[in-house]
Amino acid sequence: MWRYIAKRVAHAVFVMWLVATTVFFGLRFVPGGPVRAMLGQEATPEAVAALRAELGLDRPLPVQYIDWMTDLVVLDLGRSITSSTKVSALIAEAAPKTLSIAFIGVMLGLAIAIPAGVLGATRRNELADYAATLAAFVGISMPAFFVGILLAIVFGVWLGWLPVLGYVPISEGVVPWLEHLLLPSIAVGLPYAAGVTRMMRSSLIETLDEGYMRTALAKGVSSRTQLYKHAMQNALIPVVTIAGIQLALVLGGSVTVEIVFGIQGLGRLLVNSILERNYPVTQVTILLISGVFVFMNLLVDIVYTAIDPRIRYGGEAA
């Protein structure tokens, strides 16, 4: 098992390096640069050259790359080009908002998806199943920001139950924090729940059809124990995979949804920094988002070892 986990960790580190490198070079191939963005089209070549030198952008690309990499390793994230604020400070300001939305969204999503999928599988072709399947289909077809707009109109504007703008830090109270995050979280959680529900349903249906479920029946196991002791763990294996992969949907969704709800999170930071060609900020923001994704999927891989004994004892090939 430890070999398996070590392998997964090494894999995750490699993926992060690949993301960092791609972002670094990718950004520099985008036309325009921070200097033009800051000084405008009218700037004299001298002013441009001076600023480039000041920002270190006149050095050869490989040198800049190695510089950035060594800074990353010692966790020095650099400063914003436009405001010379520390990037780490910008991130510390924005990240909790986006990650809170994503976290609550995932929790809500799973809390909806697992029971809905189980219901769909155990009451196959009954009303509850049709309702869950239809809801999942609608959910999977709508992008999070669109769900967000609908929620804001219904619960914020028409019913006036929840605020539709802004963010309150958790330090000012859990309730106001949750009130401000609830709608955006639901908006990212619903499309996530839709995908997981479908997987839960089909995986459980498949599991219930397995030979070992017939064995459980033949042993005299009650139908409830059959479902929760014999079927669930097996059915969850592919669900955990999807729940991990679909996190990309949640993170991507949070970035757009927070803009709908006027929350200054990573999404706003990312969009602005790209427009300003603010390389250090863009790089770190993208790296952080993909880092969260990679880390969550690493967790998923580790969760596997808990639910699938074939991996725990035999390595992933089993």
Partner: protein
């Protein structure tokens, strides 16, 4: 009726009653084009300690028959008629106490009346079943001086789910064809056996869902009676280092070991009847022989009868006391195993034996039976084998074949067999 004096039943005295008596069993699957009669009126009996074979091609309905015996036919299939009588006086007492509303007393006189009315009914169980009221499935034939049930049977066909859960794995258990797929990959082998013990034997370990889930997370108690019993069972089926291997997951077992573990699981509660559905089909030939030998030995050790379902005549010849041949949802011939192979009577059985290659005579011509097993949707002809039968006549398609004596305890359902006067 409980006050009636116990009826003297000479045929019951020596315990010669069949353990399992299946009469007129009918299992159907509704499909779009009509109704599949997977089992169309099957009669079968198994005596205590016997190994009875059920032979037939794929699609003949043998597995569905087996599932019908345990009340586990998969939806939308349904057992629509017949009786599956399991004769076990302990069981009758247990169920009479647990399901008092489901008990019905039947006397010899009642049965005589039924038999007089319906001469087609030959077995006691089938006659008794016609007297059952709604929800009644525990049949008491005689009571002792205290009024406690002494003899009788439980009709599995009429038993409700709660009763079936007690029967399955406890009184009737099953071993399936594919050992690779029949064990749960997320539970240890020991736990899968211990669970059966916990469910059916009073070992003082709860089987409620919270208790089972807790066991799943923290593991089963290794000092408990159920776990100890699981290890004993693994030893009984000759798994080496049983104590250590009980902690293994099924994927760490080989195919033969998994089938042994399945047998251990099935026998762990000393059931009256073990149904083995193609237990060796998925295994290597050498392992096949070992498993069959073990089954035969364990049958005696655990005082169990076995219904062995197979398409392999060699397995039957090797293992079984008596054989039932099944074709297209119907049993067509039954005889002691030696008698059947020495003197097959039904044209289907004859064809089946002629189409089996023999190691002793590899140069023998193999004669396949012409045609295919019909799909069983609303079969329009009386004898299901008639279209493929080399001897069939027009009447075979029109008149239901009845069972005829064709030898010592040997019957065949064919109009062209039996006493010369009856023959077509």
């Amino acid at each position: 009726m409980a006050t009636e004096p116990p009826v003297e039943r000479p045929n019951r005295a020596g315990g010669r009653d069949p353990l399992l008596e299946v009469g007129g069993l009918q299992t159907q699957f509704p499909v779009e084009r009509g109704t599949v009669e997977a089992v169309a009126t099957a009669d079968l009996s198994i005596e205590p300690g016997e190994i009875v074979g059920l032979v037939g091609e794929s699609g003949s309905g043998k597995s569905v028959l087996a599932q019908s015996l345990m009340g586990m036919v998969e939806a939308p299939g349904e057992v629509v008629g017949g009786v599956v009588a399991l004769r076990d006086s302990d069981l009758v007492r247990e169920f009479a106490a647990a399901f008092p509303d489901a008990v019905t007393d039947v006397s010899e006189e009642d049965l005589a009346l039924v038999r007089a009315d319906e001469p087609a009914i030959t077995s006691d169980a089938e006659a008794a079943a016609t007297l059952a009221g709604p929800g009644e499935f525990v049949f008491v034939e005689s009571r002792d001086a205290d009024g406690d049930p002494e003899a009788g049977f439980v009709d599995v066909r009429r038993a409700p789910e709660a009763a079936l859960q007690r029967l399955r794995g406890g009184r009737i258990s099953m071993v399936f064809q594919d050992p690779m797929n029949s064990m749960n990959p997320t539970l240890t082998v020991g736990e899968q056996i211990a669970e059966t013990v916990r469910l059916h034997q009073d070992v003082g370990e709860s089987v409620s869902l919270p208790a089972e889930l807790k066991r799943k997370i923290v593991g089963a108690a290794k000092n408990g009676e159920a776990w100890r019993r699981a290890i004993e069972m693994l030893e009984a089926v000759e798994i080496p280092e049983a104590e250590a291997r009980a902690d293994d997951f099924p994927h760490e077992f080989s195919g033969g070991m998994r089938q042994r573990a399945m047998i251990a699981m099935a026998l762990s509660c000393e059931p009256d009847l073990l149904i083995a559905d193609e237990p060796t089909t998925a295994l290597d030939v050498t392992i096949q022989a070992q498993i069959l030998d073990e089954l035969t030995a364990l049958k005696d050790a655990f005082d169990t009868s076995i219904l062995l379902i197979t398409h392999d005549l060699a397995v039957v010849a090797e293992t079984c006391d008596r054989v039932n041949v099944m074709y297209a949802g119907e049993i067509v011939e039954r005889a002691p195993a030696d008698e059947l192979f020495a003197n097959p009577q039904h044209p289907y059985t004859q064809g089946l034996i002629a189409s089996t290659p023999r190691v002793s005579n590899p140069d023998d011509e193999i004669e396949p039976i012409q045609g295919n097993v019909p799909d069983l949707i609303d079969v329009p002809y009386a004898c299901h084998f008639a279209p493929r039968c080399p001897e069939s006549e027009r009447e075979c398609f029109e008149r239901e074949p009845d069972f005829r004596e064709v030898g010592e305890s040997h019957e065949a359902a064919c109009l062209r067999r039996g006493p010369p006067g009856d023959r077509l």
